[in-house]
């Protein structure tokens, strides 16, 4: 066997496109054959492949999770999440007063916001606990509910500020995640250089994204509305039975164009946010430096979306792979931690798999790390 990698740079991803694509195809076929029940095995196999090709200082990461754990987590989520959901969505509309049923549904959605945040935290805790480098396990300390409660507050501020609190919320979430992340017994820190704003460099790209999306939506709806009225005026379509269908198609088209303008307009922000978050993460005095660029990131994200859309989601892990490889190949470490002093993790293992993470479909087939 010839070593296909063991690269010399600090971080590198040696995954080959067709190697990952082949596994994704096999997973997709078995996922269909098993009516999606294979997804836990598919996810595990894909993570094992992607992790093992992520190199840090010449040594690969290792994914030690197994599908049985994920499946067990799904079984745990069944009574904890699916039974209440079945009651809210299937039984309540038939069994209780419509007003109360509507309130119950509303409450369910409101509670889902912190629950999704908690699920994301549990999922990350599980994935980190199943990730090793040089035999040393990573981990995530603290309570998922603290993160969920804080996330809920930030979500409310984001909503009330029409989105303008998003950069601060993103940094807050990253800070809470990374300050609780451990490599062995060594904690990561999230440190902002003295005198700098934690969101430095993120506000202008965010403003571009916000205003660009607003303009994009106005233009999208304006143009489709204009085309619709022009076609009606020219007598090509009539506002009879067909009119409703054309209006629906036009609305969907405008919504799709708005989504595309959002995706493009916010690309500079996404790159800036990734770079800024990476710059504030430290471990044992060593800093990270990420060189994500708007255009190249947009290119790989677009490629990922094409895979996702045209495979109806079945090849989503390929999209995840493209992004993971892009980021790892642009990540540097400034200074080197004293690895000889970093001991094994003392955090307790989680054995509940990703439970609600699967219910909310959070990980897109790869992982949230």
């Amino acid at each position: 066997m010839t070593a296909e990698a063991s690269p010399t740079q600090t971080f590198a991803h040696s995954g080959k496109f067709f190697n990952v694509f082949g596994l994704a195809l096999k997973n997709a076929a078995l996922t269909i054959l098993t009516l999606t029940m294979y997804r836990f095995w598919a996810r595990t196999a894909m993570r094992r492949r992607l992790w093992s090709r992520a190199w840090v200082l010449g040594d690969p990461l290792e994914y030690t999770g197994n599908a049985g754990e994920l499946f067990r987590g799904f079984l745990i989520a069944l009574p904890c999440f699916f039974l209440p959901a079945i009651f809210v969505f299937y039984i309540a509309p038939l069994a209780i007063e419509p007003t109360w049923a509507a309130w119950l549904t509303f409450t369910f959605y409101v509670v889902s916001v912190p629950l999704i945040a908690a699920a994301r935290y549990w999922m990350r805790r599980y994935q980190l606990s199943r990730t090793r480098w040089r035999g040393i396990r990573l981990g995530l300390a603290s309570s998922a509910w603290s993160f969920a409660a804080a996330s809920w507050g930030w979500w409310i501020l984001q909503t009330l500020s029409l989105g303008w609190y998003t950069p601060a919320a993103r940094i807050n979430r990253a800070r809470m995640m990374w300050e609780n992340t451990r490599f062995g017994d060594q904690p990561f820190q999230f440190e902002t250089p003295h005198g700098e704003s934690p969101q430095k460099g993120m506000w202008w790209p965010f403003a571009i994204g916000w205003i660009g999306t607003l303009i994009g939506s106005i233009v999208s709806f304006g143009v489709t509305g204009f085309i619709l009225s022009a076609l009606t005026t020219a007598g090509i379509i009539t506002l009879g039975a067909d009119g409703m269908m054309f209006s629906l198609v036009a609305t969907l088209l405008a919504a799709a164009l708005t989504a595309i303008s959002y995706f493009i307009a916010f690309a500079p922000y996404r790159a800036a946010a990734m770079n800024r978050i990476a710059a504030q993460i430290t471990i044992d005095g060593a800093r990270f430096h990420l060189r994500a660029k708007t255009l190249s990131l947009l290119f790989y994200e677009t490629l990922g979306w094409i895979f996702l859309i045209f495979s109806l989601g079945l090849l989503t892990p390929v999209a995840g792979f493209l992004q993971v490889r892009y980021l790892l190949n642009r990540l540097d470490l400034i200074e080197t931690p004293r690895f000889a002093d970093i001991g094994q993790s003392v955090l307790a293992d989680t054995d509940a798999g990703e439970s609600l993470g699967d219910a909310f479909d959070l990980d897109m087939g790869v992982g949230v790390i």
Partner: protein
């Protein structure tokens, strides 16, 4: 043989010498010797170019990473480490069990429960049925307008329906009530509370009372055979299956919502054929020709072709092909029977919901 060893207590690898003995792997690190039995080892890599092995259980974090060129020697000493299973690839038994599990669940939710839908639907408490009816009525109210000039026409249609049901001894005949509604499309549908809604456009579509009577007979058959509640049970079952199996992606919820509103009150083709057949039994028993419903099916066919099947905002689009249904009804048609309504009654029905104005304007156009 050279390799690198991590002891699981610090994040560093050390260079070690490895000996592949008959039953064990021996690691020599300075003066220290570590012995691992091959049977207790597992692979920690994923064919990334570096073979990494570790103790299977417990995972102490110890790792042994081999350099290039040792694959053959390791394969000879511990062949099980080269098998896909050792690298985490699941066996055929696992995949087979998953296929069996998933298709069994599908069979239970998509075949078993629908098969038992009738007794399950009948066992539903009346409160649930009333709740579903309320939801259905709120949907009806959203896109129809109750006609304030249709009392006499409504009574005529209800008398006609009762006569038909009495001839066939339909048990629900005291509970069924027909309502004429003003809507922008021709349709008739049965609701869970045994109501039947007939739209004014459907009445105008009919040229003869027997055509409308045939549609009413069809809807009565849906009620008698409990198709509505059976359909709700089937759709909820499918919704739960899709939600649980697909991980709560929302597909099931959409189905569940649809099952309790009008869009969900579509019946299976089997139910439709059953209602066709039973409806024609009623007509025969009441001495009404099935030729009327045959002509109505032809009109549905023309309507579908004109509007495009996808544009029909009603359950008609899920019906079996109208042409086949028309032929089946025509085959049972009898000649020489009296119309199901008198000329006067038919005129009153036609004039319901502003139908008089519509008929007058059509007459003007014809002139």
């Amino acid at each position: 043989m050279h390799a690198r060893y991590a002891d699981g207590r610090a994040a560093i690898f050390s260079d070690v010498e490895v000996e592949l003995a008959a039953e064990t792997l021996i690691i020599r690190r300075g003066d220290r010797t570590i012995t691992w039995s091959y049977a207790d080892l597992a692979r920690a890599d994923d064919k990334n170019g570096r073979i990494v092995i570790r103790p299977k259980k417990p995972d102490t974090g110890e790792r042994l990473m081999f350099g290039d060129g040792y694959d053959d020697q390791l394969a000879a000493a511990a062949p099980h480490l080269m098998k896909p299973r050792a690298q985490g690839v699941e066996g055929r038994k696992t995949v087979g069990a998953l296929v069996a599990l998933s298709w069994s669940l599908a069979a239970i939710f998509l075949i078993g429960i629908p098969f038992a839908a009738d007794p399950m639907a009948r066992a539903l408490p009346a409160k649930y049925r009333a709740q579903i009816s309320d939801i259905s009525w709120s949907q009806v109210d959203a896109f129809t307008v109750q006609c304030d000039d249709a009392d006499e026409a409504t009574q005529i249609l209800n008398n006609l329906a009762y006569r038909i049901m009495e001839a066939s001894n339909v048990p629900e005949r005291e509970d069924i009530w027909i309502t004429i509604a003003d809507a922008g499309f021709p349709n008739a549908f049965a609701l869970p509370d045994n109501s039947i809604i007939v739209t004014d456009d459907l009445i105008r579509m009919a040229d003869h009372p027997d055509e409308l009577t045939g549609v009413l007979a069809h809807e009565i058959a849906h009620i008698e055979h409990n198709h509505i509640m059976k359909n709700v049970v089937r759709q909820i079952s499918a919704g739960i299956f899709f939600d649980v199996v697909f991980g709560g992606a929302g597909a099931g919820q959409a189905i569940a919502y649809a099952s309790v509103n009008l869009a969900g009150l579509r019946f299976s083709r089997g139910d439709e054929s059953d209602a066709d057949s039973r409806g024609m039994d009623y007509l025969d028993a009441a001495n009404i020709s099935t030729g009327g419903i045959a002509r109505m099916f032809d009109r549905f066919q023309e309507y579908e072709e004109e509007a495009g099947v996808g544009d029909i905002p009603s359950m008609l689009s899920s019906h079996p092909a109208s042409r086949e249904r028309a032929l089946a009804a025509q085959a049972r048609a009898r000649e020489g029977l009296a119309p199901s309504l008198t000329d006067r009654e038919w005129r009153i029905v036609q004039h319901a919901c502003g139908g008089a104005d519509a008929i007058a304007s059509e007459a003007e156009v014809a002139d």
